[in-house]
Symmetry: C2
Subunit: 507 residues, 2 copies
Amino acid sequence: MNFFSYLNSDDISYVHQSSLEILEEVGLQVRNEKARKRFAEHGAIVNHETEIVRLPATVVEKYRALVPPTITLRGRDPAFDVTFPRELPVFATASSAPDIVDPVSGVTRRSRSDDIARIAHLVNELPGFDVFSISTLADDAPRDQFSLTRFYAALKNCVKPCRTSVYNIREAEQVIKLGELIAGSKEAFWERPFINFGYCAVVSPLTMDFDSTDTLMYFAENGITAYGTIAPMGGLSTPLTLPGMLVIMNAEWLAAATLAQMSRAGTAQIYNFLPVFADMRDGAYAPGAIEVGMMNSAVCQMARFYNVPAGGYLGLTNSKVADAQAGFEKGMSPLMGAMSGADFIVMGGLQDALMTFDFGQATIDNEIAMMIRRVREGFGFSKEAASVKEIKETGPAGMFAANPATLEHMLTTSFMPELADRKLREHWELEGSSTIQQRALNKAYDILSVSNPVALDPDVDARIRAEFDGLVAGDAKLQQGWKRLDIGSNEPQRERRPNRRRKKQRL
Amino acid sequence: MNFFSYLNSDDISYVHQSSLEILEEVGLQVRNEKARKRFAEHGAIVNHETEIVRLPATVVEKYRALVPPTITLRGRDPAFDVTFPRELPVFATASSAPDIVDPVSGVTRRSRSDDIARIAHLVNELPGFDVFSISTLADDAPRDQFSLTRFYAALKNCVKPCRTSVYNIREAEQVIKLGELIAGSKEAFWERPFINFGYCAVVSPLTMDFDSTDTLMYFAENGITAYGTIAPMGGLSTPLTLPGMLVIMNAEWLAAATLAQMSRAGTAQIYNFLPVFADMRDGAYAPGAIEVGMMNSAVCQMARFYNVPAGGYLGLTNSKVADAQAGFEKGMSPLMGAMSGADFIVMGGLQDALMTFDFGQATIDNEIAMMIRRVREGFGFSKEAASVKEIKETGPAGMFAANPATLEHMLTTSFMPELADRKLREHWELEGSSTIQQRALNKAYDILSVSNPVALDPDVDARIRAEFDGLVAGDAKLQQGWKRLDIGSNEPQRERRPNRRRKKQRL
């Protein structure tokens, strides 16, 4: 398949060359002294007083060429490790919402570590998600165990790659200690370090802050899997044009990639962004806007130019509920990314502009991810699939239903949704006229009401709890009071009345 | 921009060649004698007993080459005529639902002519729709005025191109008479025939029925704008593979195009389909499935090969309500078509697999159409838009909000939705925690509660009513009892409190 693209090769060159020019002439403000020194040692022109670091094009070109073409995110179970680019995009949940829609009351509240445990269990079971980027913060985390709490609840209940950011190196070390305890030993962990970190590589425009830059260098030095995200706000922290935002993002990514390679050559990266334009009517943060998908399309092209994996936050609705707005905002920008060749799509579970997690939304998003996967699986063109012989044999006014080939392709031609309703109206009404959100909540309930088969071994858990005083429980027990809604099963209708209402073909 | 594509040029050739082979060796069953004779007169091999018409490849190649590269759909007001392909896709509502969700009771009921009048008024005002494909049937139509009733209510209230199918030539003649009365004279109408028809070109597999084929020839002979749609059901009326469905659809389109050109050389056509796979778990009709978008992508490629406009029914949800399912099914397949180069996207207003029209859904779909239009408007790459000078001048840690360029691009960079909510949660809750469906219904109310400025001139209307005894009223008066919901305005929030809850950049 040929991906959709906006830019021609001249455009791409221009973005690259302009980025080099900006980094060389204007540079970045780097608020971390160690980073400034590292830049200086490797050929940058540094003014420690103004904190401005200017990067000669030759330096950037030298280091960005060291970025490897693939990245591997590892899970507690190696069977779930993902290396990409691969044929299908890798899907992740979106992370770090401060709030959650309580599945019992339906009211939004601060999220807690037990929520993370349940979400981890859910994500582990949903086939659409390859990576669990930890969906929420944890309001109940002990003060000195903030990131530890989040990773503990996640890793305890999910064997897929888990990933989030930490505030500083102290937090990272605590999380890595957790990893070593889970692995059984320091050596076992470092043989296959299955904890993945994120960081905010650059604060637009052209600024590296202290902590993020500190962790960036720390991860690279120690060979820990981590990748940055650059999240500008067009019209405030970048020009208010798509090309202008692309240029500044690209310059920023090059600077961060350069520092990572200076820290350790061959450090894997993702060309990864969350490019949002402000709604200029009132300055609202609008990650649900279609322009996020359009920017991602250009991101995919630049990533191919640099031969690194293309990633991005997509499908981030501004809606506070799983209504039609959430549906089209969730579906459209990730599809746009996928059709542009995105390798890594961060899109699941959040509402209200990354502020709130919702169990129903996450389960709906899983189905959207499966649809997008179907798109990338391809059309399956072959002479055999073109079925010319079958068409000739079946002939005019014939019927294909009973053909052996039909039986053979029954389960593979179409993606078969679990949540999308395709029933006759009469059946749907009989079962309670449900919305997909209600069916999705029931599916989450069905998963979470069974105890988690991949929960951490109790002995391992005891070792962890002995190490960290006051650690949260981190168990994925079904939230008290959560009841299954009485709206029938999610199965398609098995008995089908003759469809008397199917209208004549009058289009 | 470069469109997404699944097929390479060998695949396209193979589809074309196989289609020719099928038409030559197996042919079609043609149930209309006049059509069989016309085929025979132009070189086809016809068996009048079996009704099988076989088309030598040379015959098909000769006539399909006569299909013009563009088509024009005309409206009552010539300012709304659309000729395509053009840079942006042409959007139409989807047509002919038997039912409507009553905007007052919320309950589904049979649709009537007064509903068509209101929908026509609404569509006339919604900028996302270029063409009003008449959304519903009319349960109150007098027996001998079925299609006349639908066209009358539509044309009376909408100056954009109106279009639907008719049962037979008698109906078509009645509708054309209506057109002549509106135009003021026969001559005036035929100078710019602003009524557009549809027909079901071929019933899959490979069958031409009596009435559709009759109208196809009638439209072509008389130079009336009309285009066919082929609507197979994969696994029943076509092979259960995407390539197999494409081959049979393509053969069918070539046959219909050939007959149209034999009827009048240069008859404009659209390469237009509604390709739906049955859900093989229970045979459900699943136009909301993503495979409809995938098929459309291949349709776009074949249309470019034949140098004719590419069209299709897309965004046809199976959901019965405007929930997240309706949202992603409405958004994803039309976007897929648009990114594959679709010229004509039929997508607005219907739910429940084309069975039901909903005012809220139509208004939501208008906004989806506007988003897709934004995607096709393009990235706007230029050296000026890349803003390198502005980036350098603003510098690290600078602020772009006050730059003159920001002011200049304020209204053009991003699509600004009316219905998609981007408010802070506190504001949204204060205004009633609305869904987009509720806001959409209010927008429809706001449009329909103002009297329609484009309603037919009363004198013209009197002439029409004198001609057709017992004609329905056809007025777009707001349905009695329809009240605006108390959920605030659809405006973005004007006063913005400092966003204390906007979380730190922790991705």
